[in-house]
């Protein structure tokens, strides 16, 4: 009988009424990379959290290297050589990289910072990471933080690594780098479980794929024998088309014109630097760029949530019966919003759904009301219209929820996104800005979102789509704007460009077409 690095048998875990995992079996071979695949809420994270000691299973057994173990805390997990890199980083902001890495480890009474810094540096070099061990986490970019997370696990001598959606926040280049490191580690004899929703990543990195559906274990297949559609079918339970629709719509009028937009961030550095572009009705304008190139600031500045230091944001509006481009840039969200409902129909789906777009602990009615409660005249709120709208959204968008009065925190990621998008679309906006709308969503949910966006486009809305997956951007967008270092490095026609060209724009500061060509 083969001895597995990890063998989970009959694992069940419930949260209140939710059965997150039901009778799940999973085997990880020594020295392999196993991809864990499943729709949102299928219980992947939960299952892994039981390996890393965050949760304790209700039933079932776990064997590490053939011996049955009880993992009651992350410390137990480390003792068994299991290390996990969580979906949400677990790093202490005010400590340095090295301090985070040695956190919780046994050792001498004092910490010799010099020698730990050296050791961390060496470890980084070994696997090809570039880290500054003395840098404070709060000064780091996302990819740097992830590097620290991985080093943390390696430093502990983990033989078994679990990575929960590590690529969600990385650029394609960074993903390639990460995968190279993972392969290095595999060579080193480590066993790895990786969770990702991106099928091409699954196919390129893994040896085998284990699939969960609605908390149940479906099976494990060799990657070599799999392709995107077989995987999807196992995940969802039936075959689905993997083609993103691209309806041809005649370009409408200019809906939004951003002119010379400049913003400073809290460190007084230019987060946006002279950004110029227009968005037209009936098109999807994709926005690409390495994480942190100013996409977030751009979206928020357009939505009036980010202070503007220079330039204008013009919206198409009716004035005395004539359509004009009106400047509302520089005004705060409240002013924009005051006009917004009756005057400037613009909708915004922010990247941070539960932290910005919605109130996690409130129910759907109160969340739907968030953007419209001010419309009601007087001092009081009227919950009737939002309640009706919520019920309509549940029906139209097939939102899975026990009811309109369930806190949205309890909904799955995909359904949360539907609530948010549904609310924003319900205004009938002229401009719709969506920021990473499918991040963390499974294939099925993602396609539903794409469909919704395309519908808006057909209605003549100017859709601005910020995304990280270039394949998706190329398929869904009509034009793609590439950002680099707070500047627009290029605007290209999606049909006439390639991934490679986009990639070049993404790293070319202020690059013009000539330079690239």
């Amino acid at each position: 009988m083969e001895q597995y690095a990890i063998e989970m048998k009959g694992i069940t875990k419930t949260f209140g009424k939710v059965i997150a995992n039901h009778d799940v079996n999973l085997q990880l071979r020594k020295g392999e990379i196993l991809a864990l695949l499943g729709e949102n809420g299928s219980g992947k994270t939960t299952l892994m959290n039981m390996l890393s000691g965050i949760y304790f299973p209700d039933h079932g057994s776990i064997k590490v290297n053939g011996t049955e173990v009880s993992i009651q805390s992350p410390k137990d997990a480390f003792d068994h050589g299991i290390g996990m890199i969580h979906q949400h980083f677990k790093l202490v902001d005010v400590l340095t990289a090295a301090e985070n890495i040695v956190l919780g480890l046994k050792g001498g009474i004092t910490i010799d910072r010099k020698s730990t810094n050296k050791k961390v540096k060496e470890l980084g070099d070994k696997y090809g990471f570039d880290v500054d061990p003395a840098k404070k986490i709060y000064n780091m970019a996302v990819s740097e933080k992830q590097t620290v997370e991985i080093l943390k696990v390696l430093y502990r001598g983990a033989e078994i690594l679990i990575l929960d959606e590590p690529t969600a926040v990385l650029t394609p280049q960074e993903v390639d780098k990460l995968f190279a490191v993972l392969r290095n580690m595999k060579e080193d004899g480590k066993s790895i479980i990786i969770i990702t929703h991106k099928l091409h990543e699954v196919l390129s990195i893994s040896d085998r794929v284990a699939i969960l559906r609605k908390g149940e274990y479906i099976g494990t297949i060799e990657t070599a024998t799999a392709n995107q559609s077989t995987l999807t079918e196992m995940m969802v339970g039936h075959a689905i088309s993997l083609e993103i629709k691209h309806p041809e719509v005649e370009q409408g009028p200019e809906m939004l014109r951003v002119h010379d937009l400049t913003c400073l961030n809290s460190e007084k550095v230019k987060a946006l630097d002279g950004v110029n572009f227009s968005a037209f009705g009936g098109e999807v304008l994709g926005i690409a760029g390495i994480a942190g190139s100013g996409q977030k600031e751009l979206c928020e500045a357009i939505a009036g949530l980010y202070p503007i230091t220079g330039g204008t944001v013009l919206f198409r509006q009716k004035k005395d019966g004539v359509e004009v481009m009106e400047n509302i840039g520089g005004q705060d969200a409240q002013n924009i919003h005051k006009k917004g409902v009756s005057y400037v129909p613009m909708a915004f789906v922010p990247e941070d759904r539960l932290g910005m777009g919605l109130v996690a602990s409130m129910d759907m009615v109160d969340n739907v009301m968030l953007r419209s409660y001010k419309d009601n005249k007087g001092f009081f709120v009227d919950r009737k219209p939002p309640k009706e709208l919520s019920e309509k959204l549940i029906k139209d968008l097939e939102i899975v929820t026990p009811g309109v009065s369930t806190p949205v925190r309890r909904l799955s990621g995909g359904n949360v996104q539907k609530v948010l998008l549904g609310r924003e679309i319900s205004f009938g906006p002229d401009v719709l800005v969506v920021s990473y709308p499918v991040r963390g969503l499974d294939i099925n949910s993602s396609y539903k979102i794409y469909d919704l966006l395309n519908e808006q486009k057909k209605k003549g809305v100017a859709v601005i789509f910020v995304g990280e997956d270039l394949d998706v951007l190329l398929e869904i967008s009509d034009r793609i704007l590439v950002m680099c270092g707070g500047k627009v490095s290029g605007i290209v026609n999606a049909k006439e460009t390639t991934k490679e060209e986009l990639g070049l724009y993404m790293i070319k500061v202020g690059g013009g077409k000539e330079e690239i060509a």
């Binding site: 992350p74 202490v92 919780g104």
Partner: protein, 326 residues
């Protein structure tokens, strides 16, 4: 003039020392992510138990109590009882996840009652007063450090205090070292900043929180003991802590959670407390009394303006940690 300043500084040191203990205890507690507003209560508990310990030892030893033993007993007992108060708080907030502010306030009520009740009770049974013997009293008086105390000016300024003053400074320096250099200190800071991360790093968050909170309470208890043994010279006085615990909480802010700085700030607070007794300025005494609080607010606002991430309250203070919460 010089002699007045000298006396002022000496008095400031004496007044600042119990504040320093209270503040150190609270810093340790807050570094684990717990804001324990029960400092006043724990100081009361320590105040009464320290003196009671020394008193009962003196009684048991008959005519000849050994000073050093009495000191040790006072120290240990006040630490333990202060820690007991903190343990109640810890159980409620860490295990039962009760609100930290409310629990702290309740601990203040409880501890004040505890101190005054037992002080009174023991005094009554002892025939009116709870007083330690002369020998024990002597142990808490200034010790002229041989040789050094004779140096002009510096001798008075630095080498004539009771042992608890030096002890407080040592505790502060050790704690500063502990947070900066030691492994456990680093782990503790992580717990206070981000318990979920500390947990995932294999740190036993619950244990760290318990130990820090309970030991912190013990240190507050020692601060209380200072009041009954030094400030009140070994006599139990009703209501003796009289707000020092709250002042200690203010001091924590003023010191920006830094133990070394706390030494200096305790001196400043001590000086503010007794200044009007030595230097008569033509302002109403109430303004003197207000000064520490105003200064604290100013420091609080300035640190927040500077957005200092490191000289600020540990981030998880005020929230309780539950691993499965999301």
């Amino acid at each position: 003039m010089l002699s007045i300043i000298l006396k002022l500084i000496v008095a400031a040191v004496l007044a600042g020392t119990p504040l320093l203990f209270g503040a150190l205890g609270e810093i340790l507690t807050e570094k684990s992510g717990n804001t324990n507003l029960g400092v006043e209560g724990m100081m009361y508990m320590g105040a009464v138990s320290g003196i009671a310990g020394a008193f009962f030892y003196g009684k048991a030893a008959g005519g000849a109590p050994v000073g050093v033993v009495a000191v040790l007993i006072a120290l240990v007992v006040s630490f333990l009882i202060g820690a007991l108060g903190a343990l109640i708080y810890a159980f409620l907030t860490i295990t039962l996840r009760a609100n930290q502010n409310v629990t702290g306030l309740t601990l203040t009520i409880f501890g004040t009652g505890f101190g005054n009740f037992f002080g009174d009770f023991i005094a009554k049974n002892a025939g009116g007063s709870l007083v330690v013997t002369d020998g024990v009293k002597a142990m808490f008086k200034g010790i002229a450090i041989p040789g050094l105390s004779k140096i002009p000016v510096l001798g008075t300024l630095l080498f004539n205090y009771n042992w608890m003053v030096y002890f407080a400074v040592i505790v502060a320096v050790v704690m500063a070292w502990f947070f900066k250099r030691s492994r456990v200190g680093l782990n503790l800071r992580a717990v206070g900043e981000d318990p979920a991360t500390a947990d995932a790093a294999g740190i036993n968050v619950t244990r760290y929180k318990y130990v820090a909170t309970v030991v912190g309470g013990g240190i507050c208890g020692i601060g209380g003991m200072y009041i009954s043994m030094v400030s009140q010279n070994g006599v139990w006085v009703f209501d003796c802590v009289s707000g020092y615990g709250w002042l200690a909480v203010a001091l924590v802010i003023f010191a920006t959670w830094d133990c070394n700085r706390a030494i200096l700030v305790a001196l400043v607070f001590g000086a503010l407390k007794i200044m009007r007794l030595y230097v008569a300025l033509p302002i109403p005494s109430q303004f003197y009394d207000m000064a520490p609080y105003i200064v604290t607010i100013i420091v609080l606002v300035i640190t927040s303006m500077r957005e200092s991430r490191e000289h600020a309250q540990p981030k998880s203070c005020g929230t309780n940690y539950f691993r499965e919460e999301r």
